[in-house]
Every structure is written in C-alpha cells, then in structure tokens.
Symmetry: C2
Subunit: 315 residues, 2 copies
Amino acid sequence: MKSHPVSILAVGSLAFDSIQTPAGKAEQVLGGSVNYFSIAASFYAPIEVVGVVGEDFPKNHLDYLASRKIDITGIQVVPGKTFHWVGAYDTNLNEAKTLSTALNVFEHFDPRLSEKHRQVPYVFLANIDPVLQQHVLDQIQSPRLVACDSMNFWITGKPDELKKTLKRVDILSINEGEAFLLSGTRNIVKAAEIIRAMGPSVLVIKRGEYGSMLFTPTSTFIAPAYPTQTVVDPTGAGDSFAGAFMGFLAEAGAHREMLKTDPKQWDLLLRRAVLAGSVMASFTVEDFSFKRLMRLENSELVDRQHKLMAMTSVQ
Amino acid sequence: MKSHPVSILAVGSLAFDSIQTPAGKAEQVLGGSVNYFSIAASFYAPIEVVGVVGEDFPKNHLDYLASRKIDITGIQVVPGKTFHWVGAYDTNLNEAKTLSTALNVFEHFDPRLSEKHRQVPYVFLANIDPVLQQHVLDQIQSPRLVACDSMNFWITGKPDELKKTLKRVDILSINEGEAFLLSGTRNIVKAAEIIRAMGPSVLVIKRGEYGSMLFTPTSTFIAPAYPTQTVVDPTGAGDSFAGAFMGFLAEAGAHREMLKTDPKQWDLLLRRAVLAGSVMASFTVEDFSFKRLMRLENSELVDRQHKLMAMTSVQ
C-alpha cells in the first residue's frame, strides 16, 4: 500500500489528560498532541499517525480516528498504561501549568515506520524527544515538507539534540514563551531571526488568544486569533492549530521548493494555512478535550474563516 | 479667535517621568498623557492642550509644543512642582509598575476652558479623575466626537463617576487589563459587550505588543501592533496611540453621525485610525520619553503604515 500523495505523517503522543480551567474540570479525558493534530488535519488531508498507547486506551477512540480516514496502523497498543498529563490553567488561559506527568508506555516510545509511512510526503513531528524526532526523519524517504513542534522541557533539557532536529526541518511551530527561551531574547522579531538561523526556513510563533506570527525568508505575517466568547479549555489549541496548518498546506500540494520557484505564492499559502490554524484552534478551546472538533462541521470552519478575514480587513 | 474646524482639545497631564526598563534608565524626563497625545496627534491635526505644570517645567518644551502648532494657551503654569511619575517595567514590557506618584500641582488641576476651547469639534479626555472629565464636557459646546481614556485607579476608586463619564463619550480607549477590570470578565468579546453597554459606542482595547481590538456597533476589528526590534520604553505608547487615532479621525472630518449616515465608511475610518495609532505607538517605544516622536518624519509614518498593512494581507 502506498501513501496518498497529500497525506501527512504525524508522530507524537496519545494521552489521557486531567485538566482544571476557570470553566471547570475534566478527569482522564482523551488528549495528546497527535490526537488533536490528526483530528484537525483530517478536515483537509489524509493522516497517518505513529504513536503508542497502553492497554487502557479506549478501542472505540481508535475506531473513531479510523472513521475519519486517519490511518491508525502506526499506533502501537502495548502492555501498560497510557501517557497521563495533569494540568491546570489559571485566569491567564495562555499558559498551562503541568501538575504531573506520567509517561507510562510513552517512556519507551520508539517510532518505527512502515514502508507506507516512510513514503509520506508531509511530516509533522509533534512535541517529543528531539532524538526521536531525528530518528523519524532518518526513516523518511523524500518528504516534500517537514514541520516540528517542541517545548520548554526539550529546549532546556536537550538543546543540542533539538538544534540537530531544527537543522533538518522546514517549519518550526512553537509558542511565544518557547521562542523567547530558545532564542534567549524577549523581542519577537529578534527571536525569529535567531531561531530561523538555527535551521527552519519558516517559523510560526503562537501567541494564544493574541494570534500568531509567521516568519518566512521573504516576509512577516501577523495573524489574528479568532475571538471566541467560549473559552473552556485551551489544551490542544496549539496542536490543532498545527493540524489545520499542515492539513491546509498538504491539501494545496505545498512543497518546500516553492520558496525558489514561486516565493510569493509560497508566502500566501503559508499565510492562509496560518489562518486555517487560527480558526481551528478557536473551536478547540470551546470545549474540553477534542469534543468540539468531533462535532465540528466543515461549514463552520468556512464561516469562521470568512469572519476572521473580515475582522482584519481595512478595505 | 475661533477653533480650527478639525482641531482636537486634549485635557490631561504634563509630567516628569523617572523610568526604569530592561533597556536602561531615564531620570526626570518629560512625560504625561497629553504631551504624548498632542505630539502624536499634531502629525494629523491642530491640537489645543489643557493642563497644568509647575514652575519647574521647562519653558523651552512649551515652546517646542507651540512650534508644532499645538495651542498651549490652556497650559497653566502655577507655583509649585510638576506632576512626577516614577515607574518601572520588568521583562514583560506590556505592564508598567508605578513606584511612586507625586501629583504636586496636578492635585488641584481644575480644567477651565477658554471660549476657543469650548468650540472645539474633537475632544480627548486623557486619563484624569472622571469628575474632571465630566467638568470638561460640561464646558464643551457641541463636539463632533468625544473620546476618553481611564485607568485602574479610577475604575476601582471612582467607578460611579467613571460610569457617568462613559455615558457621555463616543469612544473609550483603554488597555486590556483595564477592560477586564471594568467589565468584570477576562474574555475580551464579553468585556467589550459589557463596556459598550455602559455608553461608548466605540471601544478600543489596547493590548501592548499584541496590537489592539476595535469594537463598533457594526463590527469588530483585530489590529496588529507593528513589530519593532527596538523596544526601549513603553511609556506613552497608549497616549500616542490615542493621539494618532484621534488625529487621523479629525483630519478625516469624522463625525459620530456617520454611524447613522454611512456606517460602513465610519467603520473603515475607525479601522484606519487604529492602524495609525499602532504605527505611532511603535515609534514611541523606540526611545525614552517622546524623543523618537520628536525626530519622527512623516515619511517614516507612511512607510511603516504600508509595511504593517502588508504584514496582515492575505491577498
């Protein structure tokens, strides 16, 4: 079986989350970066997930993913418990506080790709150990586009390994606090310059409810967040942002070579992909876990995209 | 002497500031809301300032204001010392910490308007006691547009008086933290709804380096901040934002009646005024006091406005 010409390989965590926010509490709900990523991305393109869960992980959720045409053959079910994250948000919903992390079966996660996975044209390396991110890249044959995420834990704990990963990716998507930590400066323009010099030609800095910024070799784009009245749980906003962003690029057949062949079109595609990410994230936060995404209609996405464009127009 | 048909009356403080930021220190430099406001606004329209200073205030600065065609006949020089604010910013440059405030002659500020001031078409009430703001409005004959600012100190200390002021203004311009405090909610969409119900038909919520949001009866606009690499001192960013915003509206001959006669054009004008404010603020922060504004060229404003528009375009 061959990979679909626009499919995305997503490697990262599937998890249980226990979350407390000003809007309420959710105990042991489904979460994890590639769960959010792949559900969001599946609105745009076929997804192949590589991850690991314990025997306690609900089979019907894997069935649900499969029903969205998400290839789950790369999700290993192994003896033991699934990764469990416990976190809380105070009134500043832009930053999660980790209360506890039980890696469980995720501790020995070793992503091994099938022949089909190796041929995938688009790759998203969610926030996992940069050594594993490189290990995935070693197995990929000739991707059109590779994006990755990271976090404070790796920026501080494995900076050299992370830098090796960054040399090999086209796009890095991280949040603002992480960008400041990684670059060593608190100015976003300078931070972007420093980080792009580490490797990624394209950098997306996510700023929570303040939107995001996109830095490419030819331009800077300031993207708004969609202002929703209903903010229940910010968990997964960044991963679902990345999902819609990569999904949009894959659906459009984006290729890193476009930077050379048609830099203007490349920039425009990236900008629209960022807006798709913004809109997706705005739905994610409206309920706990990915409940809102599971009941999301394509027409709602389109409607909110139009509204967001209207909210930034000066014409 | 009659007021110019597009001139703006600005009532507020002229001060000395002593400021500490991550970029350095400035002792006893010129500051105050209407100083920033009127220098910024004077790029667009004639300004008439009403304020009070002590005998220690440099006469050559008043001459400088006059050289910018700012009418300073409303600035009283009285025995005593000028208002002195001492503040600091930590790495989060979006929020000032007040270390001390010496009101000095400002304590007995009682804005009395000349005949010329009373006929002014545009009014900006900077962040002063809401009782004084009302006192100014009592003296104005028939303004085309009234905008005001406020701050935590009055929101908490004189909420009832502030609400009386709000019933009488067209536009309120405050920062995000103040909007949350005034509305009692941390969601910006809900906060805007609550505050607009208090009176101001138009609300601008300033979000520091994250830009601002504009709420009108017919639409919502999400405005970017211009991302500058040089952030030396955020003091006065909000007041110079308001100055360019009001200056732009005055220059365009805006009138509150436009909401009824041409709501689309009204929204567009307000949006462009917000962008003018964003650009002005981005220059203000590039040096201590209003040093950057004093050496600012019109061509730089236009250039940065174009760049900012390009940074939000998806076409």
